[in-house]
Structure formats: structure tokens, C-alpha cells
């Protein structure tokens, strides 16, 4: 039964290896085949949830402390589901006329496999390997299929990613050395007795590694450029799942393994979180490009997440996990809508877009979904982000009331850029000279529509966000 866990990363990785073998004449089949692989992965994850298999433990390089240890718990299960879902939908957003589809889709699947492996890993070195594995295909995807400034975006992403990976490796090795163990499985690591000084050094490395991945201010230098240049499916993956590795790592290794250092530094972490939230929101208001606006919006929401992690109360941690899941859905929906707009209109420059709500020549369906996504991002009740943000604020308030108030204000600013964006893009005059694009087909709408239904569904049934991880977050929460 444990072998079932191998299927989760195995399905996308095997598909990634076999899809390039498709004949030239069947290139377009890469998209449905890739989506089927992701769908099977999603089904396998649901099956694993129902069957609750025991952890898989296979020797790999025992002398280095590297074991193929995979397991599902309340934290990794929802994230694996999120990864499979977003990957499948990201593949479906891939246009059929995308050049070199037999390479594009496998690289997306490789990212999916890497992220899933990281979420499943029960061994710190295996986690580092999976963490690094994601970097290579993502960089290639940005470098080959990105926008006009793709080279700069890819290099910046690679440099930040490499620094993140190296720092993470250093942190994990330091964990072993400081603990005097060569075993890097999570059970061994969690039983280590580390001195407060060691904990602080290691936490500093972890904050740098995962802060670069999330990202948080001031480690976000790669994000706006990469999000604005990456192809839509790639940016959906980046914002929806890959960046969530940072949140996962901070929870799994920061809060859970280094509680004393975390408690000591939490006021500073909370301050950075609140600052990130304000910084992201204010920058989003100032943006003139749809994708960059969404990038800064995402940055702001990661600030809220960091605040919740810093508070580390049972409720705030539950809120943090909920925020990871809700934000994954919402930001993927935002970028799916932005991708549709860009594909039809040829631009994401806000100044060049207006009147898209025109019922006959605009993109009213896409704009409807965009409005839903913006409302969700603004934390409107009934949508996915509301319960998550409510728990974040309520859970953080008891530890950091000032930071929570600041973050609350920043969350209010979301409505400012959401309304501003929608007003400019949706209303106004549709330009006769430009508006000669075709409407969106149902197959193009499907990924965004699915995400929109999930955003509504999860908003109406918030247990879907919180139920999975309740026990885990209660277990690692810091004592009040």
C-alpha cells in the first residue's frame, strides 16, 4: 500500500519522461496527455487520503543519510492535492499552438513531480533534492517560453532559486551537524535537542531559503519580473504551488523543528510579515501591468501568511495552512484570467485595456471570473480567502495586535487595487481599432472556471481548507 505514495510524484515524472517521445504529428496530444497524468495524480492522492497508507521507507544513499522516505500527513495531503490540481489546470491553459509542446508540457509535469515529492518527503535531504529539482524545469520554462524579457527573468529566478537551494542545503546539513546525527529523516530531526544559538543560526538560514521562495520582502527581487515574463501555465504553477514550498518549509522546519528560536524571533518575523503585506499592497496599487499587479498582490498575501506563522498559535497556524491553499486557488485563478486576457488582447498593460466587459466584443466571461478572483483576493465573505484571512487575523491578534492591525489595513488595500484594476480594464471604451479578437471558447475557460467554482465552494465550506491540518497545526503550535 505504501507504494501508492510513489505514484503521486511518479505519475507526472513518468509522463514527463515519456511525452517527448510523442511523434511529431501528435504534438498537440501532449496537452491532454499531460492533463490526464495530472488528473490521475489527483485521483491517486485522493485514494491515498482514503486508504491512509503507511510511510514508504526505501534505502537510497544510507551513508549520506538519504532515504526515499515518503509520507502523507495533514499538512502534506492538502498541498499534494493543490499541486496536482493546479498542475492539471495549468497544463490545460497551455495553448495548442504553443511551440515545442513536447518539451513544454513535460517540464510542467517535472515541476509538478518535484513539488509533490517535496511535500511528500519525510527526509530532509530528499526534500532538498526535490526543492532543487523544481528550479531547473521552471528556469527552462521561463527562459524558453517567457516574454520579451525572459532571459533576465530566468537568470534572476535561477540566481535567487540557487541561493535559496544552497541556503536550504546548508540549513539541513547544519541541523544534522548541530544535532550530531547523520539521519535526516523527520522523526530523527524532530527529536534533536539543539542549543538556542544553533537554532537561531539554522532558523536564519531557513528564513533566507524559504523567504526567497515564498517570497517575502526584501527577498522578492525575482518575483515581479518572473511573474510578468513567465508563460501563463508556468506562472500559475509558480504562484499556485511552487512558492508554497516556502510556506510549507517554514511550517515543517521552522516552527516545528526550531520552536525556541522561532518564538524568540517571532516579533521580527511578524514585523516583516506586516511590512510585506503593506509593501505588496501599495506596490500593487501603483502597477500599470496586470501580471505585475498580481505579483505584488501575491507578495502582500504572503506577508499575511508570514504573520500567521510568526504568531504560531493553533488558530493562526491553521489560518496559515488555509491561506496557503486559498491563495493557491485564488492566485492561479487570477493568472489564468490574466493569461486569457493576454492571449486574446495581446497585452497585459492596464492602460491599453478597457471596456472588456462589453457583452458582444469584450471578454465578459473572463472579466466575470477576474472579478470573482479579485473579490476573493480582497477577502470578500463567501469566497475562499475569507475564512483563511479571518483565522490569520484572529489567530495573530493575541500575539501581535499591532502587526495584525497593520496587516488588516493592508488587506483593506486589496480592495483598492482590485476596484482600480477592474474599473480600468472592465469598464470604459472598448477600442474599435484593437478589439478584433475572438471570444473565449469553453475549453479555454475550463481551467479558470474550475478554479472559480473551487474558490466559491471552499468559501462556502471552509472546512475543506482547515480540516486536513487541524491536528498537525495544533501539535506544532507554540505554547501561549
Amino acid at each position: 500500500m505504501s507504494a501508492l505514495l510513489l505514484l503521486l510524484p511518479g505519475l507526472p515524472l513518468v509522463a514527463a519522461l515519456t511525452l517527448p517521445l510523442l511523434p511529431e504529428t501528435r504534438t498537440r496530444a501532449a496537452v491532454p496527455c499531460g492533463a490526464i497524468a495530472a488528473a490521475l495524480q489527483l485521483l491517486a492522492t485522493l485514494l491515498a487520503w482514503r486508504l491512509a497508507p503507511a510511510d514508504l521507507n526505501l534505502p537510497w544513499l544510507p551513508s549520506l543519510g538519504l532515504q526515499l522516505q515518503l509520507g502523507l500527513d495533514g499538512l502534506s495531503l492538502p498541498l499534494c492535492l493543490l499541486a496536482a490540481l493546479i498542475s492539471g489546470l495549468a497544463i490545460l491553459t497551455t495553448p495548442g499552438d504553443q511551440p515545442r509542446l513536447r518539451l513544454f508540457v513535460p517540464l510542467l509535469l517535472a515541476c509538478d513531480g518535484g513539488v509533490t515529492s517535496a511535500f511528500l518527503a519525510r527526509n530532509a535531504l530528499l526534500f532538498v533534492l526535490a526543492f532543487e529539482l523544481v528550479l531547473i524545469p521552471t528556469t527552462l520554462l521561463v527562459a524558453i517560453w517567457g516574454g520579451p524579457r525572459r532571459a533576465g527573468a530566468a537568470i534572476r529566478y535561477l540566481l535567487y532559486g540557487a541561493l535559496s537551494g544552497l541556503t536550504l542545503l546548508a540549513a539541513m546539513l547544519a541541523l544534522g551537524w548541530a544535532g550530531g546525527t547523520a539521519a535526516f529523516d523527520f522523526d530523527s530531526l524532530s527529536s534533536l535537542q539543539l542549543s538556542p544559538a544553533s537554532q537561531r543560526w539554522i532558523l536564519a538560514l531557513l528564513l533566507l531559503a524559504f523567504g526567497l521562495k515564498l517570497p517575502i520582502v526584501p527577498l522578492h527581487g525575482w518575483q515581479p519580473l518572473t511573474y510578468s515574463q513567465a508563460p501563463t501555465p508556468v506562472v500559475m504553477l509558480l504562484a499556485g504551488t511552487i512558492s508554497k514550498l516556502g510556506a510549507y518549509g517554514l511550517l515543517r522546519f521552522g516552527v516545528a523543528l526550531l520552536p525556541e528560536a522561532w518564538a524568540a524571533w517571532s516579533p521580527w518575523i511578524a514585523a516583516v510579515g506586516a511590512f510585506s503585506a503593506v509593501y505588496g499592497a501599495l506596490n500593487a496599487i501603483a502597477q500599470t501591468d496586470l501580471r505585475r499587479l498580481m505579483a505584488y498582490s501575491s507578495l502582500g498575501h504572503m506577508g499575511l501568511l508570514l504573520l500567521a506563522l510568526a504568531a504560531a498559535t493553533p488558530l493562526s497556524l491553521q489560518g496559515a495552512v488555509a491561506q496557503v491553499l486559498a491563495h493557491g486557488l485564488v492566485v492561479a485563478l487570477l493568472f489564468a484570467c490574466a493569461g486569457l486576457i493576454e492571449r486574446k488582447t495581446g497585452t497585459t498593460a492596464i492602460a491599453d485595456l478597457s471596456g472588456l466587459l462589453n457583452p458582444l466584443r469584450g471578454l465578459p466571461f473572463t472579466l466575470g471570473l477576474l472579478l470573482l478572483a479579485l473579490m476573493a483576493a480582497a477577502g470578500i465573505p463567501g469566497l475562499a480567502a475569507f475564512p483563511a484571512e479571518l483565522m490569520v487575523f484572529e489567530g495573530s491578534w493575541v500575539r501581535f495586535p499591532v502587526a495584525t492591525l497593520i496587516a488588516l489595513g493592508a488587506s483593506g488595500l486589496t480592495a483598492v487595487y482590485a476596484v482600480r484594476l477592474f474599473n480600468r480594464v472592465g469598464f470604459g471604451r472598448l477600442d474599435n481599432a484593437r478589439a478584433n479578437w475572438p471570444g473565449t471558447s469553453w475549453s479555454e475557460r475550463l481551467p479558470a472556471l474550475t478554479l472559480a467554482l473551487l474558490v466559491i465552494g471552499v468559501g462556502l465550506w471552509p472546512t475543506a481548507l482547515t480540516g486536513w491540518s487541524e491536528a498537525f497545526t495544533a501539535h506544532i503550535a507554540l505554547p501561549s
Binding site: 471596456g355 462589453n358 457583452p359 458582444l360 466584443r361 471604451r429 472598448l430 477600442d431 474599435n432 478589439a435 478584433n436 475572438p438 471570444g439
Partner: protein, 425 residues
Amino acid sequence: MTATTTTPSQHRWADVIHRLEAGGSMLPDTPENLMQIIGIYKAYAVPMDFYWRDLLYIAERVFLNPLPAFKYFISQEYLDRPNSYAGDQSPLKIWRGSEKAHPELLQFMERGETRAMPKLLHHLWHDRINMEFAEACMQAMLWHQGMGGRFNDYLASEAYRANADKAIRAYFRGNPLMLGLYRLFPEMFLEQVRQLSYTANLGLFWEVMAPVFFEMSDIYDEGGFQGVPDAMNFLVNGIFAVAGRPIYHHVFIDGECHEIIPKSEGFTWLYEAALPYVEAVFYRTSPFRGTKSYNAQAGQVPVDQADFHYGILYADVYPVGSAGIPPTLLMQDMLHFLPPYLQDLYRQHRRGSDDQLIQLGITFQRSMYNVTSAVIQALRAALFYPLDDPDPEHRLANRRFFEAQMDRFLRPEARLGDIQSQDYR
């Protein structure tokens, strides 16, 4: 007719002016343009056949009904009313079509675009001819006033007041409440009657235009028009043929005819109806309709009413309903009666049948540029000189007239530049 002016015009629309001087239209002469405008004339004529009948019904029969909830429920008498300018029985027969309501109109009134059901349900479901468009045109004429002719001045005359007073008293005979209100607020009632006089004016105008457009469609189907100038010249000739037909306002109360504006006043179709209509509806209308809003305090609305530019010649058809006259309703009306060749054309472009409303709106814009061209050429013929006049002074006068007309399309909102391209759809 050929242009013999030696020096080319330096006007921004010099190409268009040279085309007008050569006897052409503001709309370029292409087979597709011809097909588009004739097709839309036909689609326009069918609802117009209802507009004029119902406008006359409102002006002559509904009159001052304080609760005119059923004014769009035209009586059978007015639906059967023979057109004065078409049909064998017509004493003023000018066009060859039938005097009866068009069969496509009758069929649509029966079933709508849904199915046969009581008239009230069709009305409430908006599955009907949108008289709101016709009334908006009438209100534009009433509101702008002073666009030439004597009609508007007459509405302020003592003779008109006396005629209207008689009709008002006759209409409310035995109704002390309304007569009391009339005594208290006479100007309010008079203003309503003035509006009804414009309603009659527009009804009589469209009574002429409907058979013109039907005949143009028939001629095109028979292969009769060779180009856009032919279609324009047909309109010019039509304008002169009916220019002197009377414009009047009669009201029928208890079987008695009250002549509020008698035919003997000598108001004529061209000067009291056609020219004010073109000015009010094609050029001016008003800025407060549709989805686009205008801010007068930000200087987006001209101070002088004569500078208004919200008509179909300036309308941005994309944001549906943004023009002064709500084109959405007219587009919806025309959509039901598109000839097959126009439907085929729309299916081949842009979003095919999904955005036909916009495509036909732009076609309508093209066609109205052609109608305006006909009016400009008719005015030139009436007030200035033949296009082939050998006298250079006369040709120069014609040139100045055309340039003055084209000055109205210098403002950026004008669609004259757009319609020069076939890609504007």
C-alpha cells in the same frame, strides 16, 4: 457628373470632398458597402413601417391619454392604414411597393422571436418592435428645436395655441379633473401637445422613408444598383420627389378631426421634417443615454446645444448603447429582419453571429453616412450649382459648401474616417 475643380482641396477630408464633387457619397463605392447599406435599409424599413404607423396612432389617437400604457399596442386601423406614397390605391403613389404593412412585420408581430403568445406578454418580454427608439428620435427633434424651417416657430404661435386648446378641451370633455388641471397648468398640457406634434412630424417623415428603403432593396435584388452612388442618387431623387409633401398634425376625438397643425400651413416634408431629423438624430441627439456617461462639469458636453455630436455619425457602436440615440434598441429591431446575404456576411467576420448586433450597428452607421451624403447632395442641388457647372466660381461655391459640411466631421468622435476602411466592422 465629374469634378472639374482644378486645385485639390486642402481639407482634412479632401478625398471625401473630391468624391462628393464627382457625384459620389461619403461612403466609398465598393460592392460590399453597397450590399451592406441596401441590406440594412431593408432591415431598417420593416420596423420603420411599424414606427410611422404607431407614431401617427399616438399623435392622432392616444393624444393626451394621461396613462398611455398601451400606446405601443397599435390599433388595427393604423396597422392597416395605407401608406400615402406606395401601393396602387395611393393617390400620391411615388414608390412601387405595397401600401399595406410589410408581411415580415406582421409575421414578427404575431410570433416575435419567441413564439405566438398574447400581445401583452410579447410586450413585457420585450419581444416586439422597440418604439422607445422611435420616441427617442422624436424627443431629439423636440429638444433641439430651431434646426431650420418654420415648424418649431409655429408651435409657439397663437394659432397653434388656439388649435391645441380646442383639441385639449375636446379630448377632456366631461373630465373635470383633467380640465381643472389644464386650467392650473396650461403650459404643461401645451408642451405635451407640442411633443405630439413632433410625434406626428416624425411619423409622416418615416411614412415616406419606409417604402423608399423597401424599393431600394427590391431594386438591388433585381441587380439594379451598380454602386453606392446609384443608391445615394436614388435617395436624392426621392428627396426631391416628396420634398413638398405636407407635414401636419391632426387629432381624432369622438370621430371628429381637430387640425392642430393644418395642411394649409404649408409645412413640407424636406424642410420641416427631413432636415431637422437628420440634424437632430444623425448629428446631435443627446449625451445622457446608453452605457457611456458624460461629465458636463469636466467639459465633456458642449455648452452650445448646436455643437452636440452624439448622433449615429459619431456613435461608438462598440460600447453598445453609447450613442445619443439608443442604437441597441434599433439594432435589436433590425436584427430580426436582416436579409440572408447580410447574415452570411456577418458570419464571416469578427465573432460571426455572436456579435451581429455590433456588426449591423456599424453597417447602419455606413448606411446613414450614405443617407447624409444624399441630403448634402440634395442641399447642394437645391442651394448651389450642378456638379458639372462650367463656371469656376460656381464650382468654388460648391467646394466651400462641401468643405463646410465636412468641417462637422473634423472632431475626433466622427466615424467618417472609420467607414473609409472595409475593416471597420
